[in-house]
Subunit: 196 residues, 2 copies
Amino acid sequence: MAASTPVTRPRTPGAATGSRPGGRSARVRAAVHRAVEELLAEEVGDALTIPVVAARAGVHATTLYRRWGSVGELLADVATSRFSGDVVVPDTGSLRGDLQRWAADVATDLADPDVLALMRATLGAGGEQGACACRGDREDQLAAMIERERARGGAVPTVERAADALLGPLYYRAIFTGEPGSPEWARGLVDLLLPA
Amino acid sequence: MAASTPVTRPRTPGAATGSRPGGRSARVRAAVHRAVEELLAEEVGDALTIPVVAARAGVHATTLYRRWGSVGELLADVATSRFSGDVVVPDTGSLRGDLQRWAADVATDLADPDVLALMRATLGAGGEQGACACRGDREDQLAAMIERERARGGAVPTVERAADALLGPLYYRAIFTGEPGSPEWARGLVDLLLPA
DNA sequence: GCACGAACGCACAGATCGTTGCGTTAGCTT
DNA sequence: AAGCTAACGCAACGATCTGTGCGTTCGTGC
């Protein structure tokens, strides 16, 4: 490489940095993301390496090294785009209804073995950044629902408390115990959080 | 290799299989465990490989390949011995007191960055087995405390419910958010679980 | 359209990893 | 104290990974 720029890599791959988010780059990115998810679903375990992903995606390994640099960053990128927008904020008219529906959706999402594999791999390789990618914008969604209820004039718990009561059990079950919670169980968590 | 046995590896490394848990094996095991924890604390990330661990431990890489086979199994072994016995079950006379003290201890344990790094790496490389290793025997401890209270004749929550209310938030905070909970916050979780 | 340059493909090389066979060390048994 | 054998050290190999330089393709702006 020249001397000034540390690496040829065009900055963060996720957000278009103003350079060229055009057709081909987007296609490559999509193919790579799909390849990662496919390999994760096949429980390749250790064998999730840059060359393997590249071969599966039909892309040259050099491209992956240049764009992502390591499997850790690649997984963090995949996790970010996988977990953003996977669950929509419902609007049922009441906080209880919103939270119940939302918790059930999250539980359903977390029950997918592929999602679990992605989260575990991202946590392991991505470190702090990967962990945040797995949370996605779920705390923000929680805050949005609570804020809406407060605007309606209702009594609401703090976002922190709601995260403890909902996201805590949901994620703990999914990651640490083999048995993810059912949507019914997730709805029950809401009943424990909100006063009867 | 011969033909019958798939690998020369002497079964599970943790429990002595009756063969020879003698002095040298134990020393090697301890050195390797220490090396893993040291490297984890240095945030080596991807570079936590068998040869690197072997060099740090002053042991030949072949030994690690034969005893553990992969970084995943090695990390699961380290996590198991790290998380078993790290927290003792208190006996304060009341369930509330027991849980408060226990939750505070777990929170303190989870606040250690090295423990976090170990858990994340184990989750990533160890898969299902690694996840169980990170839980340790904490659900059993929870069950023991609850059972003791029930023997005293008190009203007790289910173990499942207690795990949701305590382990869920504790682990979620530690793993997914950068800020692990304080012992005081952990004690507050107990107050939310038990009726006032 | 046309030129510019970012992103990709390709080939090659250095480094590292995973595995095997064999000799040596050192627990364990009697 | 002497033998047995599990466990370790050693050296070498093939496979795989990581990184670089250069030519080519194809979005993007003029």
